[in-house]
Each structure stands twice: as C-alpha cells, then as structure tokens.
C-alpha cells in the first residue's frame, strides 16, 4: 500500500494513494491526527468492494453507504441525526444508509473535549461542519469519477439519490458502481455546501434507523454480550462512600453452585460465576468486614443545614455585571429566598455493566459507555498495554444521562479479566447501581433581588452552595483528554497532579451554568459559588447544574412577578428587551398554550424560560391539584429555538423525554444520604415517572437558519420551574425545594 499526502497544513489533511490496484485511498483528518486512522481506501470483503473517501463514510459496491458515528446511541437519536447530515451533502439514497459506531481513534474524538465522549449535548453541533464537509467531499469525488468514466466535464454532472447523473445525456452511475472507478481521483479541498433551502433530508421527519431492532429484541446492549468461556461477575461495593475491605470470608460463597472465584479488586469484592444469578446469590453469602470510615458521618439533612448557614456569607464571585453591592443593605426594596435542590440519581434502565477480555498482549472491551477514550485509558493503565492493543466496542446504551461518562464498570471488568485471564462480564445489580451512582450534586441557592420603582429587579444575586461536579470529574477526564502522543509516565504524572490540584482550582465556573448570564435585562447581576465538597461521589447528570440553577432562577423571578402583582409572562417580557430570540420563543409557547386565555376550571399554568448552551426554550405547564393534594401535570407546551432542525421528530422526542426525566425530579424522587450511604436502592424507593403521570407534551420550534445547537439536555432544566410556578398559581404556595410533594402544599 502506497500513500502520499496531497495537501498538508490546511484545515483538513488529505491523503490519497492506491491499494493493490483496487481503488482509492482518501482520508479526511482533523489536525494533529495520526494515531490509528490510516488513510482510507478501497478494500474488498466477500466480493463487495468498499470505498472509504474519509473517516466518516464507507461506500460499498452493493450501494450501501455506512456512516461512522463517533457518539454513543443513548436514545437521543444520534445514529439517525448524524447520518442525515452526511446523506444530505452526499446526496445519498437514505434507504441505503447504514450506521457503525466508530472505534476509538483520534479522528473520532469529540472536538468539544478532545476525547471520544458523548456528553453535554455536543454531538450535533460539533459534527455539523465536519460531516457536511465529509459528505460533500465524497460527493465531489464520486462526481469526478463518473465524469472521467464518461469523459465529460464534472460540471455537467450532479449527484442525486445515491447516483451520479450526466445532465446532458441523462446517463447515470449508482454510487456502488463508482467505487471501483475512483482510483487516482483527486479529492477536492473546497467543496460546495448546500444552503438550507436546498436541504432534502435535513428538516424531514426521517424515521430512526434503530427502531426495528428495538421492537424485536435484537438490539444488542452491553448486558447482552456473550463470549465463549465468558464468566459473569457481581461486585460487592463498600456500603459507605470510599470504604475499604478489612477482611472477607468467602468460604460459603465458594461452595455455592457455579462459583468460579472470588477476587478482591479496587472497588470491592467480585464474585465470579458461570451465570449472573449464581454470582448474585453467592454474593449474599460473603462475609465482609469494612474498615471504619469517616464518611459514615455524612448525612444529607445535616449538609443542607450546613449549607444554609454557609449561604449567609459571601461566596466567590463567578460572574458579575454592574455592582450588586450598591443595592443590598440599603433602604431600597429587596426580596430574598432560599432554594434547596436535592441529590438526584440517574436510574438508567440498563444497569452499569461491561465485558472485558484481557489476553496476553491485548484487551477487548464491550461497553455501553458514553466515554470510549476513558474506557481505553483505564484499560491501558490496568493492563500496561499501549492504546493500540485495546479495542473498545460500543454497544447500544440503555440510558446514559451522563452516568456513563465515568467508567468504573470498565475498570472492574478489566481488573477481574486480568486476574482470571478469561472474558468477564460485570453486571451491577440495580441496588449496587443506585447506591454506587455518581449522583447529581445537591445545592442551596440563596437568591436576592433589589426592586426598582417599576417593580423590576435592578440588582440580582444568586449564591450557590454545594460541590461542583467538575471538581471531582475533571481529574478523571484529564488522562483521556491528553493527546495520544503523551507518554505513559507523563500521562500518569500529570493525572496525579491534576487529581490533587484540580479539585481546589476548578470549582465554580461550571457550577453557575444556568445561573448567569441571565437572559433578563438586569443591570447588576452577580453569581457566587461557595464550594463545599463533602466527598459524596457526584457526576454529570442530564443538564447538571443548569437543572438546579434554572429552578432557583425561574421560580425566584416568578416570585418577583408576584410581588409586583404582575402576570409572569408580561413581567418576563418586560425584562427580555435584550433577548429578542428568547422573547420570540416565550411568545410562541404562550400563544400555543393560550396563556392569555382562561384555562379550564381547576387548571393552573406556570411558565419558565431557559437558555441551554445556545438553545432557547420556554415551557408552559398546566397542573391541577386533586384530593390529598396530589399534583397532576396535564399538558406541557414547549417552544424551542435550536437553530436548524435536523429531524423534527427527534426534537419532539427529546422534549418529551426532558419533561418525563425532569418530572421524576420535580414531583417524585430524590437521593438522600444517611450514615455515608445512599438510602435509596431500587425503583420502589426511587420511583420514576409512569405513563399515567405523563402529561400531553406539545413541541413547537422556531424556524432559524443558524447552525444547529443542543437538544438532548436542553429541556430538562425548564420543566421543574414551569411546574413549580403552576403549583404557585394553583395554591399560592411557593415551594422552594424539590421534589414538590403533596405535604408541601397541604395548607391549601
């Protein structure tokens, strides 16, 4: 195989060459990429030749077009959305599109983090330019190949629906027919990208590509992996955060049927058996003594009391415009409130699991993960192998919600497999999954506003007390974020420094997401953060801090509207003078909800707005209160501006999903800590929303031609304040905590 770089030093790095006379070698690479991805090529498999015009596209002589997707399918529809972007520019026949989840490669890193990770609703907007260009370059390559074969100028040819057509003669080649005709074709550097009005696929309600296999049981999730000679492990984790094993008696366990071994790993004690159920039963027979641990004094009620107290002192300013100090402590009118948001769990339907096979010189991993580079990195550390020797297969993921960004389950499977030299599948029981979750941080939010003579806030202070996810998580991400060329000793060294330094330096900036900047035109705003990390394992959770901050902001703003005796919509409208886009979104939601009309008897409305990344949203929630103060949410009207809509159905599904996910936290569940343990363990004590509690959700999008923005998490922060504000409208009671339970409104 010969290859030579054609163009270097530009934005893309293109390689072209020939492979044993079968065709073309072309690769679109991002800068600084060279680790795994060789220049792509035409290869042959079972008589089907394949053209890989770049890292993202595989065109086969059977006319199929496979799109490499560098993100995990968590249910958000990314394995449909990203292929739609490619197919649009490629002019592919949508019925011939197939999808493959990309392996761990430099070119497949998420540019938002420099690590292959599905997180923070970044998949579409980081892929938009790259995939459009990849599709367009492949299109132009195919057009050039066809033109050469016909001996006509490429300008007389165009691509359409999986074929290249010569306009004057109406001759055509299907893409598959062109695979072998591309040898030596130069890949164009500057390609035409379509204008939104030319889109044929983007903006259409294209059915998801993964639906059929999710209706007949054939979709393979991590938990479904089965390998020859594979054993299954159940890991018993310490009951108290950070606990260590003092002694273990596994005599009875080892006598039980199917048990192959009991091994100590970093996380706890692993019981390894032929089947999960044998391991699960035998794990109950373990007698483990755990070391005494300071964390056993941790108690979430006490933490809230401590944070209430801490909120009385000034925090570290993370954002400021104007000077709020001029307005507080004076004679002017002020309003204050404290909002308390509890810990939340992920409750992914598929519990944490991973299958690993550590062999003499290499290691393979099958995982439902959101973070492929981290899976590879932890395996490299445990095995001592180079990255090249560690292959990560991403399965379908039974719910992510941020939980699978950290990879404890991979560590466990690799450690056990390394010890036993067999393929090992680790499955957490639901109870282990709930109690060893990396939960969404709890916070206390002290809100204060100074009100001018028009009833509007002239100064706004939001003081957040709690722990910042990034303080705990960034040190874990560091080794995966470093470029691949960083040698192991340096990688470990820098990670070590990061682990001791970052938790002290990092907290703050991300903890105020959703708290500032505000969309409202308030002259003096300050967001403060008081960092108090008690050591409870916390992690990313669908929208993370935006959820708690938006709840405090949008409820508190509603309080100010009520203080001023004004309609919550009109009050916000007066404050959105500098945010026309948000104003339009809010008006759309209000119009569709009939905000200005009287709701049906017994129904009360609440409204909330939020900007998540660059997506503007407004929800109107309709609630009614029933006997024993039961709160029912009947209808939620969602208005969204997320730029160009790739697939309207995905936006609707993600809004419905955000409403359902958020309502569990709004009306049903919380994680509480007692004696250093998570008190909840399963869906009986951490109930999630049921179908009979699901409101009717209506979704309206604003047409916009700016590049697509975020959608997966964007709706989650909006639902809780919209419902809480509706509960206030219904009862006159301002509930400043979550979840809002019947007891909170019993005095109505």
């Amino acid at each position: 195989m010969k290859e030579k770089p054609l163009v270097q030093g530009r934005r893309d790095f293109i390689k072209i060459g020939t492979l044993a006379g079968t065709g073309l070698l072309v690769g679109v690479h991002l800068p600084n990429c060279s680790r795994h991805v060789e220049a792509s090529h035409v290869s042959s498999e079972n008589g089907v030749n394949m053209l890989a015009p770049n890292a993202w596209i595989r065109i086969r002589s059977d006319d199929t077009v496979t799109v490499m997707v560098n993100h995990s399918e968590l249910g958000q529809g990314i394995t449909t959305a990203l292929p739609m972007i490619v197919a649009e520019e490629l002019e592919a026949d949508w019925s011939k599109i197939k999808v493959e989840i990309a392996p761990v490669e430099e070119v497949y890193k998420n540019p938002a983090f420099n690590t292959q990770m599905t997180a923070s609703s970044t998949s579409v907007y980081t892929s938009w330019d790259i995939l459009r260009k990849a599709g367009a370059m492949a299109r132009e390559t195919l057009i050039s190949a066809a033109a050469r074969a016909w001996k006509v100028p490429p300008s007389e040819c165009y691509a359409q629906n999986g074929a290249v057509i010569h306009k004057p003669s109406q001759r055509s080649f299907r893409f598959g027919e062109l695979v072998d005709k591309t040898a030596g074709i130069p890949v164009p550097e500057d390609v035409y990208l379509k204008k939104p009005e030319e889109f044929k696929i983007i903006g259409k309600r294209i059915p998801r590509l993964d639906t059929k296999i999710k209706t007949d049981g054939s979709a393979k999730f991590g938990i479904d992996i089965k390998l020859p000679e594979m054993l299954v492990a159940v890991v018993v984790h310490p009951p108290v955060f950070g606990g260590k094993v003092k002694s273990v008696d596994s005599q009875n366990t080892r006598k039980m049927k199917g048990i192959r071994d009991v091994v100590a790993i970093d996380a706890g004690i692993a019981v390894v058996a032929d089947t999960f159920w044998q391991a699960r039963l035998a794990s109950d027979a373990l007698q483990i003594e755990w070391e005494e641990n300071e964390n056993s004094k941790l108690n979430s009620d006490a933490l809230f009391e401590r944070w209430d107290e801490m909120a009385k002192s000034e925090g570290k300013t993370q954002y400021e415009i104007g000077d709020v100090d001029d307005f507080f402590g004076t004679d002017g009118k002020t309003h204050q409130a404290m909002y308390r948001i509890p810990y939340q769990g992920h409750a992914t339907p598929e519990p944490m699991n991973c299958t690993a096979h550590v062999r003499d010189k290499d290691c393979e991993i099958w995982a439902p993960t959101q973070h492929q580079d981290a899976a590879q990195e932890v395996a490299a550390r445990i095995t001592g192998f180079d990255y090249e020797a560690i292959k990560v297969h991403t399965t379908f993921v039974g719910g992510g919600f941020g939980r699978r960004i950290s990879v404890e389950y991979v560590v466990e499977a690799v450690q056990i497999s390394k010890i036993l030299k067999k393929p090992i599948k680790v499955i957490w029981t639901r109870e282990e999954d709930t109690r060893n979750d990396r939960i969404r941080p709890a916070t206390c939010n002290f809100m204060e506003a100074a009100i001018d003579s028009n009833g509007l806030p002239v100064a706004w202070r939001h003081r957040i007390v709690g722990a910042d996810v990034f303080g705990q998580m960034l040190p874990k991400l560091i080794p995966s974020i470093m470029p691949y060329w960083v040698p192991r000793f340096l990688r470990n060294g820098l990670s070590g420094i990061g682990e001791s330094l970052l938790p002290r330096v990092v907290p703050g900036k991300k903890a105020i997401k959703g708290a500032a900047p505000l969309q409202y035109n308030i002259a003096n705003v300050r967001a403060e953060f008081i960092n108090d990390d008690p050591g409870i394992p916390i992690g990313y959770w669908r929208s993370v801090s935006a959820f708690s901050n938006a709840f405090a902001v949008e409820c508190f703003l509603d309080e100010l509207a009520a203080e001023s005796g004004e309609d919550p919509f009109d009050y916000r409208d007066r404050l959105l003078t500098n945010s026309p886009r948000m104003r339009e979104v809010m008006k759309l939601a209000a119009d569709k909800a009939g905000w200005k009309e009287k709701p049906p008897a017994g129904v009360h409305r609440g409204l909330a707005i939020h900007r998540f990344h660059d997506t503007d949203l407004c929800f109107v929630a309709e609630v009614s209160i029933h006997s024993r103060h039961e709160i029912r949410v009947h209808r939620v009207v969602c208005a969204v501006n997320c730029g160009i809509v790739i697939n309207p159905k995905t936006i609707e599904s993600q809004m419905e999903s955000a409403v359902a996910f958020g309502l569990t936290s709004t009306l049903k569940s919380a994680i509480t800590i007692r004696d250093g343990k998570i008190e909840q363990s399963n869906f009986d004590d951490y109930p999630i929303l049921r179908i009979d509690e699901m409101p009717k959700v209506e979704v309206y999008t604003v047409q916009d031609t700016r590049s697509p923005t975020s959608i997966g998490e964007a709706g989650v922060p909006v639902i809780a304040p919209a419902v809480a504000n509706a509960v206030f409208a219904a009862t006159g009671i301002r509930v400043r905590k979550l979840p809002i339970l019947p007891d909170d409104i019993k005095n109505t």
Binding site: F221, K649, V659
Partner: protein, 152 residues
Amino acid sequence: MVKIRVNGINYQLDVDPDTPLLWVLTEQLGLTGTKYSCGISECGSCTVHIDGEAELSCGISLGEVAGKDVVTIEGLKGRIADALRQAWIEEDVPQCGYCQSGQIMTAATLLKHNSDPSDDAIDGAMSDVLCRCGSYQGIRQAIHLAAGRKVS
C-alpha cells in the same frame, strides 16, 4: 431437570428451579430481548407472556413455569404483534429502547383483552412498565394506531 416451552420450543434444563425465569431466558437460552432492570418486579422491562398473559420474568422462578408456555419478545407473533411492531416503527417510539420489549409484550396482552383501549385504559395497563426516556406519549399513540389496524 426442568421442562419448559419457550417460543414454541421445548427445553429440558439442568438449572436450579429457583432461578428467576429472566436469567434462564437471557443466560441459558440466549433470549436477550427480555431485559433485567430492577429484579424486584417494579419496572416491567422483563415482561414475557406465560400461557398468554403478561408476567414479570424476574419475579417468577423456572420451577413455577415448568410445563407452561412462555413467549418472549423474540417469539411474539401474530396479528397483534405485527400491528404493534409496525405502529412502534411508524411512531418512532423507542429512544434508548431498553424497556421496549416490556412495553410491547404488555401492550400485546392489553390489545388481546381490549381491542380499542382508551387513553385511560392504556395508562392503566401500561403503568407498570417504566420508561426512563419518557417515550410514553409515543407508546399511547402507537397502541391506538395498532388497535385501529388490527380491527380493520
């Protein structure tokens, strides 16, 4: 040895009869479409049909289904099943998809007993099957769609 009939095939299994049916299906028979999620009969992901009725396979032992007819998502066939799958595809119901076997198995017995269920009837029958992604609105629509087609 326990005799069991799954998706029309007879098996003789040398498995502890106390083992939950869920783990027999997934680990012994390789029928992984039935999903473990809670293990305590709280979430419905593991719903299968036993003698034609929806049951939670995590809460019933192999011994208890000896001699009975078990159908999993892989073996779900017939007019109702076809109508449901088609409706599920048209309404693009699944998101992560993990609970959807349980949803479809439960919906199938609902339609068997009620050929034209109201929203309330759907909510009543389906409320034991949890979907963390919140695909509930699509489930309601898909069941209505399937009900209409199956009758016509």
